[in-house]
Subunit: 242 residues, 4 copies
Amino acid sequence: MSLRDIVQESDTKAGRAFDSVILVLIISSIITVTFETLPDLSPAAKRAFYIFEAVSVVLFTIEYVLRIVTAPKVRSYICSFHGIIDLIAILPFYLSAGFGLLAGIDLRAVRAFRLFRVFRLFKLARFDGAMARFGKAISHAKEEIMIFLFATMILLYLSAVGIYYFEHEAQPEDFGSIIHSLWWALITLTTVGYGDAYPVTVGGKLFTSIILICGLGVVAIPAGIVASALSKVVRNEERRAA
Amino acid sequence: MSLRDIVQESDTKAGRAFDSVILVLIISSIITVTFETLPDLSPAAKRAFYIFEAVSVVLFTIEYVLRIVTAPKVRSYICSFHGIIDLIAILPFYLSAGFGLLAGIDLRAVRAFRLFRVFRLFKLARFDGAMARFGKAISHAKEEIMIFLFATMILLYLSAVGIYYFEHEAQPEDFGSIIHSLWWALITLTTVGYGDAYPVTVGGKLFTSIILICGLGVVAIPAGIVASALSKVVRNEERRAA
Amino acid sequence: MSLRDIVQESDTKAGRAFDSVILVLIISSIITVTFETLPDLSPAAKRAFYIFEAVSVVLFTIEYVLRIVTAPKVRSYICSFHGIIDLIAILPFYLSAGFGLLAGIDLRAVRAFRLFRVFRLFKLARFDGAMARFGKAISHAKEEIMIFLFATMILLYLSAVGIYYFEHEAQPEDFGSIIHSLWWALITLTTVGYGDAYPVTVGGKLFTSIILICGLGVVAIPAGIVASALSKVVRNEERRAA
Amino acid sequence: MSLRDIVQESDTKAGRAFDSVILVLIISSIITVTFETLPDLSPAAKRAFYIFEAVSVVLFTIEYVLRIVTAPKVRSYICSFHGIIDLIAILPFYLSAGFGLLAGIDLRAVRAFRLFRVFRLFKLARFDGAMARFGKAISHAKEEIMIFLFATMILLYLSAVGIYYFEHEAQPEDFGSIIHSLWWALITLTTVGYGDAYPVTVGGKLFTSIILICGLGVVAIPAGIVASALSKVVRNEERRAA
């Protein structure tokens, strides 16, 4: 069994094992990045997180080198979406460490790019069929989704304008400008309703009533369109299989 | 190439260019109107916004005149929906400036009509097919939508009446009358739930539970109806195309 | 044209006029009842509302007598759903006024029954076809709706039990018992989210996450079922018409 | 009529009566457990609840013994899901009482397991057909549901990461780490919106807007998929019945 079979294939036993190891590494490195942000970490915990990060970056680097070495076409791998994601997952660590040591520059902000590792999860071949199906559904319903996103934008804007005229005198802090009011429009029409901003004038409440009764549909419809497009794609596949 | 081809047509190169310029103008004038409402603007910014507004109104006026001049039937353009929107988009500026200069009357309120420009975005021919489809879907499901809007109204009213009897003694401010309670009913049944008014008595909470379990469906169904009508229209079109 | 044609028919000109007058009366009497609950009404307004109420009750009484007189089968009208609603719409006024005058007993609470007038709106023949369609859709999907209502109940109960164990020590006021917690469960799983009660412990938040991700579907599905059943009934009707 | 017919069958008169008695017992014991958690119960009420609990456990024990005695295959009943649930419904009471009397150990926590009785409600044969249908729908749409749960997880995580970077300086309490931010992401994307945590910075609000417009669909779609899968299963059954 060649190295290529292990790294590139995912239907041999060794290939699956290699993929599993990488998967576990990605997930545990995401968990590490998540827990690292906890405030009041002990110095020991910080050190442990740093060592784990260093080790996983070294392992990701070995994987990256192996993927380059075993790639049928080296350049096309390096320039592919997956290749760039793989590079972005390791580069920030070296940049941050290198500049820190050599020039004393603090590049910790660069390390946020490590989170691009989460996209590596999509590479796992399992979902490929279902992903393609979802892509098809989106492309079927593309025009409808566009209209409703456009209608949603217009509706959000008009809601913000309306509520601004009704409320900006009564509540100059929350409805200080149309831009401030857009936040209220978004939180209301998506029915999130935090309660940080809401109309208090009679006019504002009447306006909100009209906007909500007419507008909820507009915001809710895209999900329905995608769902029905998706079930159509599945139906088509079943028909072909039958 | 005649002027008419540039102004009226949208499938020639010059026509598309003209449309694009107008589109950019409309969008930037909407953005201007939006940012103009920001509080604490510097005098320089206010002046810049005013100049931009004046320039864009002059350009819209030139466009309006060009559209009249090149229209196949002048009167039918002026009286059409698009013609009226085009006029409303420029008239307020002249009225406000003119009356301000001549008679010292402050007509700033009239300027709110500038926002009708947002409707000019719909004129862009791109969405015409999809818009027609959406119109068909609405007309297919008209009767169902009417029933559910009617049922929603009745449900909102009965919810408001019920919660009024349960809560108006405990919370005379938020549930002071059936009209006050309607606001609560709307915000609850649309699941926005700002948290500015909610039942605190045992009876009010029990009543809310029943209303929510029975009522959510009624409010949520119209969106489902529109979505299914829309996907039906699309299916019909595909069948005809096949 | 006989009196019967005017009162009982709705497809003659006089019948339609009679129905319209009654409709206007019902709607204005509902509006009166609504505005009557406003606090701080002037004595003049209260008196005006009372006179309007008295006049409309007299008119409803005349209508009730006319309906009895012209009914093909008097007894079956009096005992029908519509007949009882018509009686309940006028009886409370007479009871309240009579007992008040004769015995000094305050029967204002009885007057709440006036609100049954809102159900008279359903009598208007317009929606009859669509109502039947909706009834059919419900009966088609009866079993599914029952399961999901049952599943919703179980889910609400288990959520309340779970959050009670996690939160009742940290927040003894809002999560004082499973019954208190049911209010939280309802407001959370319907996504209303007033913000009057929410978990603050780590365990409670984790539990809420699991309940929300698994449970939203359960609560949202009945609306989807009704919508799809309704569009099926409409499809069937179209097929028969074709 | 043998004992077996009464206990095991549910289509004889005696069997239905037996089932009904058990159903009433289960529901009233669930209600008891619920009310027992009310704070400030009088000692008399506590005693009454305890006696009712003792009596119902004795009756459940008799039922359990009867089920073992009349089971066609004793071992397979004891080890079945229903058998284990039946045992868990009674064992905690004996353990808690026994250890309390003999060793003075307080095992009240164990009594929480009594709530497993709620699962006994599912045993009622009525819903078996509909349950099977629902199971089929889930298995039809399994892959889609998996993708959307996976996509929901990724979306929740990325939302939490994003809002953490925007808000953790402005609001170190509510957005103290990515783990804290996950709570916000969940409550926002499910549109519950308690209002206990929400963005206040301009960047955070912009980020929330993008996440909400793109993300609502992802969270809302699984319910749509299940609903459409369910209506497909029903269609298939009707076709077979026709």
